[in-house]
């Protein structure tokens, strides 16, 4: 068995699981077992032709599998696979409205006199 670590952006598709135990003798077989258990994950990892997507990085222990034998890399018991996501971080794109509006209390600048209650 191999442990696959699922990154936060993909956890909605594994029912929130952070680490998943899978079977398989190679990286390809382990990933196939993963998406067999979590079908929603499939389109995030593989393209329509079944190839691993270019922006999906898979590391075996601390090495990029591209620097090993790619998806054909054999797995040993106790190996750990990690999927490394491309994350942009920070604020959203195209959500101008809620980003632009200051809180009402923030409109009172330091030094200005707050309006008196009527």
């Amino acid at each position: 068995m191999t442990i696959i670590r699922v990154p936060a952006p993909l956890r909605p598709y594994t029912g929130g699981s952070k680490e998943v135990e899978v079977a398989g003798e190679t990286v390809a077989a382990a990933l196939a077992d993963l998406v067999k258990h979590y079908p929603d994950l499939k389109r995030h990892l593989f393209d329509d032709a079944g190839a691993l997507r270019a922006y999906v990085n898979v590391f075996l222990n601390d090495e990029d599998v591209r620097a090993l034998q790619g998806e054909a890399t054999p797995l040993e018991p106790g190996d750990r696979l990690m999927i490394i996501p491309s994350i942009a971080g920070g604020a959203p794109i195209g959500q101008r409205d809620e980003r632009r509006e200051p809180a009402p209390s923030a409109r009172i600048r330091p030094g200005s006199v707050p309006p008196r209650p009527a």
């Binding site: 990154p7 936060a8 952006p9 909605p12 598709y13 079908p39 929603d40 995030h44 997507r53 270019a54 922006y55 990085n57 590391f59 601390d62 090495e63 990029d64 591209r66 620097a67 990690m82 490394i84 996501p85 491309s86 994350i87 942009a88 971080g89 920070g90 604020a91 959203p92 794109i93 195209g94 959500q95 101008r96 409205d97 809620e98 980003r99 632009r100 509006e101 200051p102 809180a103 209390s105 923030a106 409109r107 600048r109 330091p110």
Partner: protein, 392 residues
Amino acid sequence: MANAPLVSKELDLSHDEILRYSRHLLMPEVGLAGQRKLKASSVLVIGTGGLGSPVALYLAAAGVGHLGLVDYDRVDFTNLQRQVIHGMGTVGQRKVDSARARLLDLNPAIRVETYDEPFTSENALRLSAPYDLIIDGTDNFPTRYLVNDVCVLTHKPNVYGSIFRFEGQVSVFWADRGPCYRCLFPEPPPPGLVPSCAEGGVFGVLPGTIGTLQATEALKLLLGIGEPLIGKLLLFDALGLSFEELRLKKNPRCRICSAEPEIHELIDYEAFCGVPGHDHEDGHLAREWEVEPAALAAEMKAGKALRLLDVREPHELEISRLPDAMLIPLGSLASRLHELDSAEDMVVFCKSGTRSARALELLAGAGFRKVRNLYGGINEWARQVDPSLPRY
């Protein structure tokens, strides 16, 4: 030597500066020579948000003599949960002005240049030219690829940090000495596949941790001390409080930093990523698959039979909810389509309209024809229709 200081020039310190930096001067790894180097150093910080806040604060405090800040945004109330360089007194102001004032209050002995504009292919080479090192504190893929390519083409180190929910990544991408961002991520994910922080949320202290690590790497590079994160990707998980380090290699087929690169100049990064890197000032036009909250409220009042589908996560219902809406979180929608009736008129909503737009694509792809997206989500509904609901 692998980690020769990035900056060899030194500038004299005044007596005030010697006193200010005394805790640095006591350590031989920095010392007077190192502090004089920092004074002669210049760093461009792209973004003055969650990551840029701690980066700029610590670089200013450490005495980096010349800081540049690039950001075209204004300080928003919801930024203050994590963007600690700003404050209530600067909500509504330009972020670069707010940040500059704070930095000069912390350290008036430094110079802070501000660029109140997006970082684009047109201005990137000009804006970055005076700086020794660039810090990527951006929030979107087009700008990340742009920062990388600028650094590769001008032989500068790119101190990278990125965050998502409770997890972050840090690295130093420096093509002259190791891999670049494109070696690790040759292509961006298609738009919509990775949720943004506004949809996914972010733990407020996380950019503090990641940004502080970026500042640490920048100072080490400028001084030429320690082991920089070149060829290594540091992963941080705040919940497990764990760090992991992965080894990165130069991609021999990298499109920009390999021996035979395809990219020799800056490209159109918005086209490359399929998404805008910056907000564009286009007015909103309701499209046929969208419905404005006020219009939806009118339809409901008129008694039209509608199915409301909420694609948010269950815990978001504690913040706000629409009566009679059915909840199917976006992540499980694909496997729960059988619970929906394609003959019904349906309106899909989420917090602000992004996840529901993705749900709409998924439904349309599955043959649903009578589905519309609630423009602006439940937050816009709260604004237009029901102000008793909180916005978040």
